[in-house]
């Protein structure tokens, strides 16, 4: 009896406490989200507006001019497709490579473990610079090919570390149990470890995808002549800054709409991310199977 009333007292206190906290959280999050979303709405409004207006959250001089200009240039779709290809292939490859390395490194008794850690850290810190990279890639024949947009940034110690940390936290008991049941190394990896690591893998995959999607340096430096391989990020850079050059004797209307066109390009280039994010969110939030084993 005493215990029951004490418990119900606790429940009551907890409920009130929970309520206050809840309200605080909701207010905070709402303000924060508004701060994040409003500028974005502004950009969308800008993309549907005419030139020379002061835009708040509502388009003025509503027009599809910006989008027309973008779609009329055949290079846009080519660049979009290129970006998609690079991002998808690059993410798959990179996540795979990084994950395998992370799993290996998560084994505390791996021989030469410290050596390999140093190996990857040095990659992250030191670089020969644009020219030596360029010369070397030229020698191995990858300059002016799409491959050069993917491979140089495939190995990322940052993501390897994230995944290693996560994997180290997984209880060893599951793995041991599987081994006892006779699972081979690959089975272990594919059917047991990987599903448990889904949240971190998807997080890393999302970060990697966005990294590939936004990257323009690789195209800028290592595609000197084959501009048909330009990804969308590079296309946008050229489109916006180049149109200002058409200022005086060229296409003045396009130059006047420079901000609107930039806004339209941003909206278009964010769409794939906006599509893929909620999808992966579901799995990131779902949680792992950590509690599946009784300690």
């Amino acid at each position: 009896m005493k215990y029951a009333s004490r418990r119900s007292n606790l429940l009551r206190v907890r409920k009130h406490e929970g309520l206050g906290f809840s309200i605080f959280v909701h207010i905070f999050m709402t303000v924060f989200i508004l701060l994040c979303v409003l500028p974005f709405i502004h950009v969308i409004a800008l993309s549907f507006s005419g030139a020379g207006y002061a835009i708040g959250l509502i388009p003025q001089g509503v027009t599809l001019y910006s989008y027309n200009v973008v779609f009329e240039d055949s290079g846009f779709f080519q660049a979009f497709g290129m970006s998609l290809m690079v991002a998808v292939v690059g993410t798959l490859l990179s996540v795979l490579v990084n994950f395998l390395a992370a799993y290996a490194l998560s084994k505390r008794d791996l021989p030469f473990r410290r050596f390999f850690n140093c190996f990857f850290v040095i990659i992250m810190l030191f670089s020969g610079g644009i020219i030596p990279n360029f010369l070397w890639y030229r020698i191995i024949g990858l300059v002016d090919t799409p491959i050069i947009l993917i491979l140089p940034m495939a190995v990322q110690f940052y993501y390897i570390m994230l995944m290693t940390t996560y994997l180290e936290n997984l209880p060893q008991s599951i793995e041991d149990a599987a081994c006892v049941d006779g699972a081979g190394k690959l089975t272990l990896l594919w059917y047991i470890i990987m599903p448990m690591a889904v949240p971190i893998i998807l997080t890393v995959a999302l970060y990697t995808l966005v990294g590939y999607w936004n990257n323009y340096q690789l195209a800028l430096y290592y595609l000197p002549t084959r501009t048909e391989y330009y990804p969308l990020s590079m296309f946008i850079l050229n489109f916006i800054n180049g149109s200002a050059i058409n200022d005086y004797v060229g296409d003045i209307e396009k130059a006047n709409h420079k901000d609107n066109i930039e806004a339209a390009l941003i909206v278009l280039s964010v769409i794939p991310i906006i599509i893929s994010y909620p999808f992966s969110l579901k799995y990131i939030v779902k949680g792992s199977f950590v509690g599946a084993v009784k300690e």
Partner: protein, 311 residues
Amino acid sequence: MKNQHALKFRLKKHWSTLLLLLPAVVLGVVFSYVPMVGILMAFKTNLNLYIYEPFTAFLNAEWTLENFQIIFAGEEFLGVLWNTLYISVLKIVVLFPLPIIVSLLLTEVKNIRASRMYQSLMYLPHFLSWSIITGIFMSVFATDGLVNNVLILFGMDASEAVNWYTDPSKFVFLVLFTDGWKGIGWSSIVYIAAINAISPEYYEASRLDGAGKLSQIWYITLPLIKNVIVTMLIMRICYIMDAGFDQIYTMHNAATRPVWQIIGTYIYEKGLQQGNYSFSTAVGLFNSVVALIMILVGNFVAKKISGKGVI
């Protein structure tokens, strides 16, 4: 004797696991280690790559420590270095905890639909390019812009309007604010994933013992994601020499030049824009060495605190 046995035993046990490292190692060697030889360029001058093929050009150029003299002897560089560290350290100290706080709060939201909506929206600023962000915030923080108008409503005198963009001290605030705004939502994804991995049993148990929200956060959540936090922190410290080139280059203006000239912009103006690659390589080498020292220090400290580090 004992060590050798252990090594042999471990090799036998893990030989197949080592194979898993192979793809990453090969890619690393091919795409990063081989061109690293180019760091030697930092020690050369008069490198003329237009006329000569790389090897001959390299041989023809003179060995010199000139680039490093410019770096270490020039007073200009010291100021630039100070700016870089100042901004970077501020960014870490102020901005690093924020995604953690946001993710803690977000995972406390019980309503799944609301939580899903918040999470889907808060990463949007990350995708705006710096030029657009600067454009937006410039009108907001202008002398006659939104922020100043609000401050006037709260009683500030109109002639005291804060020059956010042209006052060096306020400028640093702007840099932090915009960087935070852009990155908090995005960076919190990793913490959300980590928090969601915590077994709900811990919370159940603590609730029965009468723990309140704050206690739960302090005694359960934080310790359990400590490893992730430490890892992220060490990684962040590695990038300490990059105080945000893209951002600052877009936001810079004449008035605040003493404050905003960071190493990145310095290399850009003095090195790349004049085709002086050996100089920019030298500064890059300097950056890398500093970052290496930082990561070793950070690793050491992390080991002392939590018993394990990154390396």
